[in-house]
Amino acid sequence: MPEPTESLLQLVPKAEAAQSMKDFKSDQEVRWCPGCGDYAVLAAVQGFMPELGLAKENIVFVSGIGCSSRFPYYMNTYGMHSIHGRAPAIATGLATSRRDLSVWVVTGDGDALSIGGNHLIHALRRNVNLKILLFNNRIYGLTKGQYSPTSELGKITKSTPMGSLDAPFNPVSLALGAEASFVARTVDSDRKHLTEVLRQASQHNGTALVEIYQNCNIFNDGAFEVLKDKDQAQEAVIRLEHGRPIRFGTDNNKGVIRDPATGDLQVVTVTNDNESRILVHDAHAATPTTAFALSRLADPDTLHQTPIGVFRSIDRPVYDTLMAEQLDKAVEQRGKGDLGQLLTGNDTWTVVG
């Protein structure tokens, strides 16, 4: 399959003048709880948009239902706050019919992985040109504190006073399993990292899934503290950078190697003997195998050894492009449709008065 080498961003008109963060702030009062991680993500996105330099009338944010899904109201672009779980489906219709738009989906762990799980995996499989920002706070916020499909097993919440019974989804693993062509993870409070991930996602042709660990300070405060706290973060966070050895820890003393017996990945203390075996991160690897193994490194309960960054970024055919090509090809083969001819068909008879 011939791969488009140029960025699909070229189809989206550029802004005529330089933009600033202010241009992307709508006149609506932001109504998240004070201290919510969503503020940081909103600021990062508004801050990054001028760098992208697209005409803001050609940018659309589509969301579902939940705290994060209020996001479009605060962006001074086109936007739709839709219904629970359906944003990827709605955005698919928009993106596939309007390739001149930059379409972003904002969703949460409940919206994307519970009620909307089906639409998410199918968007990823089709590789529709969408940028999906999945705010994962591991809790239901807007309905006031029930466990979510990413909550750790045994989570005590309003609906699970004796602990939740279902094992959580790992959104990155799920996306990779759903054939995603771009999967990344970042953290709300790390503006620089978040912006870099947004930068790479926005340049990607096809569906980009960005999981953003986001703190809900009301119902699940500190869920990601281990990744944010300076002392603990060094041991807990594995920063993935394409082409660089996967190392982390105090003094970079830990690394990821492949177990030759099982093919699985494991964390080791780096020594002179094993240093050459430290895995070099390849986000563009043809198979998702290593990316998947990386996504399984983190402890689902403590979040120790959590990789962040771009797990996978590959080129593969984009649904909207293929759809447009079929339309062009049909015109090429049969000429532009003639309604009179179509209605008449091949089998007619005439009645004369």
Binding site: A55, M80, R86, A89, G93, R98, H122, D347, T350
Partner: protein
Amino acid sequence: MTSQVSSEAGEALVGEQRSAPATPHHGTEKEVRRLDRVIIRFAGDSGDGMQLTGDRFTSETASFGNDLSTLPNFPAEIRAPAGTLPGVSSFQLHFADHDILTPGDAPNVLVAMNPAALKANIADVPRGGEIIVNTDEFAKRAMAKVGYTTSPGRRVPRRLPGPPVPLTTLTLEALKDFGLSRKEAERSKNMFALGLLSWMYHRPTEATETFLRTKFAKKPQIAEANIVAFRAGWNFGETTEDFAVSYEVAPATRAFPTGTYRNISGNLALSYGLIAASRQADLPLYLGSYPITPASDILHELSKHKNFGVRTFQAEDEIAGIGAALGAAFGGSLAVTTTSGPGVALKSETIGLAVSLELPLLIVDIQRGGPSTGLPTKTEQADLLQAMYGRNGEAPVPVVAPKTPADCFDAALEAARIALTYRTPVFLLSDGYLANGSEPWRIPETESLPDLTTPFATGPNHTLADGTDVFWPYKRDPETLARPWAVPGTPGLEHRIGGIEKQDGTGNISYDPANHEFMVRTRQAKIDNITVPDLEVDDPDGATTLVLGWGSTYGPITAAVRRIRREGGHIAQTHLRHLNPFPNNLGEILGRYDKVVIPEMNLGQLATLIRARYLVDAHSHTQINGMPFKAEQLAAVLKEAIDA
């Protein structure tokens, strides 16, 4: 269908079939009789190709210039076990030298390819009707399978007024030089049957031969085998003494206004209507859909016309189908989702969102038997109240219903007009009978189609107190109450919309009680004030009883009304295309009559709406057997109402 019911209907029909005196044909050869109309039913196993046979006979009949109406009837299973009653598939065709309205109540001729097909259909054949069976299939085992007991020398049950035709043997014999396996050769027996019937009714044959050559273009041997079987069937009729008479049904020249005609099914007409609407609106067509019987053919058809700029998206489920359509509508496409009742149930929440967003969207519901999975391949009109009310909150949606297969074209254009003019989702309620049935259609001049162009918003539409010009996404057109359609890509009109209640004008989130009350009433008023044409009443005699119908019952009701009038009875008739809002003059019309009868293929859903809205004591006549009304029975019901 009980035998009692059908024999009643059948007798009346056969009695009506007018036959001219026998006329000589080709000198002293076989006798040719003239008939004014004929009803043929082809019945066989699901795998016997009965639908194809019926389609071909229909095409031959259409090109000959008869008026016609068809009723395909098949099981939901693709291949039910061979030779069983559940596996029987049939195709009924009514054709005439005058205009007709229904596929006919009872067949004059039944072609039964096996014992199961005979058993499932024989009760519908009236006395004097002709039955042609493939006697090869009436072996002991096949008959026992459907409960027929055989007796020596009399292998076919009961009366069998038709001559014996060993269809399989004759087909195999005709194809013996082809070197085909027995199984392959046997497959052509439906073409043998088609050839025989084509001879019996003087149908033109060239188009069928051309059709077979095209259909099997990649297998010329199979094409030739089918053509040989088809010709062998024709020749068999001409030579065998068992068939002494053939029949002519003259073209229905006087029934049709001047014009060019083609035969068309409801789903095809609907697909063409959508493409035409897209052209007339100068907007790209976008279909988001999930396969479901009996709506899938619209998805299939539209996916063939990409050179019209038609985008078809086969979604992961019904919800995504309408979701994608709504997304495309936001982007400025003429957006459509197609489904049947169970799909509508899944789409309900998104329809509510479309009501709230006030975007144009067509929801095409090809109704089938319900509830739940119900009867996927049978017809019903039981989604009317779902279309009207099946959403949370006050979420009014206009409802438009076609009345005949060809009318699906015009109904699609009308649904698009309402959606685009008023920026609202619109239900188009077709059904399985219209979808698969077909009739002649006068091909419209494309110049005569309505102009559906709808301007997008291009700039600010409101001035604030401080003099600033702004764009308000919910500032309405004072006439239509439609809000502006501002599509992404338009500079300066960036705005956010959603399912949360919006402030009048600005469209910003608002929980204000008075604003909510205002918005609910305004959305309702917008739908209530949609301009729809006044209803016309057909009442030549100043009747006191009115029959009111909607949707696909138009054919049977009109046929029943004609019967009553032919017998000297008086009845008025009117038929609703717009179910929401009702035409303005409907109340006045209802008030003119002592009695109002409403026949429906549900338990009285329109009757419920009419009673509630107009306080009219309408008499509801209902049938929910998966089949269209029979004109004879309906006439009896109407007569009873008139006489009551």
